[in-house]
């Protein structure tokens, strides 16, 4: 059951007015232009014990994406494919407004948006994760941990997940007559990522669109549009977020803006992964 949020943080009216009047001059409260995203920092292998991990800072928003590989059984309708599971935890360290407990609707939404973008593009080569067809496969667990919430968790999470998956190493699998065993200490090959995918969010505030909204902008926005892109520009997912309404022109304009932000994210990822290699 979903209920209209009643405990949301309050943005004072004067602040809201300020945000709007600044936008009329093409500026935002933190000094950025409408098309500018905040500075990005990426640190991979932050959790060495995990098979892959990446800590991403997008301004003051900090997201940690961790990847663990386990043995499991395939889905009945996909016996020759490994399994990808994406989960997001909005843990209480990250914000005065996060309470302990199972993932709420925002965490569930974020996880599923990231999951869809990876699944629809077939970014992971799931077929290469089969051990015994129909019986044993590798499960890729991707857990997205929010460390600090200063807005736009989805974009930060998508960059962190791409960085983590792209640097994930698979453990050795030993198949003997009677058992299948995962030798965790022996990492044998990288997880194959066939495509790079990122998600970029644009918020509509009054008549204006802004890329990478911070937490206050998110609260005053009428609605947001999170658009996932492959590196070639093909749209790999869309999610309208928030209770406001968007016109078709809004959507078009926001997709264009999202693409420009996504290209910047992809470039940053590429630079970073090349350096690491």
């Amino acid at each position: 059951m979903s209920v209209t949020p009643s405990q949301l943080p309050l943005v004072p009216k004067m602040k809201k007015d300020l945000i709007l009047s600044l936008l009329e001059e093409g500026r935002r409260i933190d000094g950025r232009g409408p098309r500018e995203h905040r500075p990005i920092e990426i640190k991979v292998n932050y959790v060495e014990k995990a098979n892959g991990s990446a800590l991403v800072k997008l301004g003051d928003t900090i997201v940690l994406s961790g990847v663990k590989i386990e043995l499991g059984i395939p889905f009945p309708d996909a016996p020759s494919e490994g399994v990808l599971m994406v989960n997001a935890e909005f843990v209480p360290i990250a914000s005065p407004f996060f309470e302990p407990g199972p993932p709420d609707e925002n965490a569930a939404e974020l996880a599923r948006v990231i999951d869809r973008s990876l699944r629809e593009t077939r970014a992971l080569d799931l077929e290469s994760l089969v051990v015994i067809p129909g019986q044993k496969v590798l499960i890729v667990w991707n857990d997205i941990y929010i460390i600090s919430h200063a807005g736009n968790l989805i974009d930060a999470a998508s960059i962190a997940t791409m960085a983590a998956l792209s640097t994930t190493k698979l453990p050795k699998v030993e198949v003997t007559d009677d058992r299948v065993e995962l030798i965790r200490d022996e990492l044998v090959k990288p997880l194959e990522i066939k495509k790079k995918v990122v998600t970029a969010t644009v918020a509509k505030i009054g008549d204006y669109y802004v890329v990478d909204p911070n937490d206050e902008e998110e609260l005053v926005a009428d609605a947001r549009l999170a658009v996932s892109f492959e590196s070639g520009g093909v749209i790999a997912g869309i999610q309208k977020i928030g209770a406001g309404a968007l016109s078709p022109e809004d959507v078009n304009a926001m997709i264009n803006l999202a693409w420009s932000a996504a290209q910047s994210y992809l470039k940053k990822l590429e630079e970073f992964l090349k350096e690491g290699a």
């Binding site: 309050l10 943005v11 004072p12 009216k13 004067m14 809201k16 300020l18």
Partner: protein
Amino acid sequence: MQQRDFVVPGDPIARGNVEISSPFLYREKDTVYTCVIGIVEIKGSKITLIPFQLHYLPKPNDLVIGVVKDVGPTYWIVDINSPYEAQLPLSETLFKQLSPQETLRKFFDTGDYILARVLSFDRSRVPLITTKCKECGKIVDGKVIEVNPSRISRIIGRKGSIIDAISNETKTKIVVGDNARIWVRGRDRTSEDLAILAIKKIEDLGLRITSPNQIVEFVRDQKRLVAGENG
């Protein structure tokens, strides 16, 4: 222990018969310890502790800048930047009782900034505030910022010298709330932003400002920078 030193919780500050004036100093046997991080000054037998981080606790007659969080039938719930939320009863405003169809939102709505004074606060009850005071009421223009509560006295300066210097130099009207919120009003946004920049500078350099002239110089430098960009 020097005249002036950084301290962290559990640091022994002094021994013997010394005057303790802060709730963040405590005595165990013969020694006085600090409970928070901050700076300690010792002058003779008097110890002053300046905590690095302070949580604002309301005192009667404090001037506060609040944000209305909720509206009840006969009162408002107001965020006053404190661990405790305040209540503003309708009877403590200059507004008249309404007809049954109208709500209190007519006067103050959620998200409004208001200037008020603290009536009472003891820790077993909710702090009560009033807008029956000079210049109190809804804030409709200018900007409101929040600063570190332990810096308020530095920002004000001796007898208001620092804040007056900023106000004069930037031609803005500045109201400093005791709850570490500051309201700045100028004839344009640039002068307001300049005043805010100066206030934030003092927040950072809190311990090095020795005279108002330093901050006047800073403001003039900034003005020159801005003029240079536009000139």
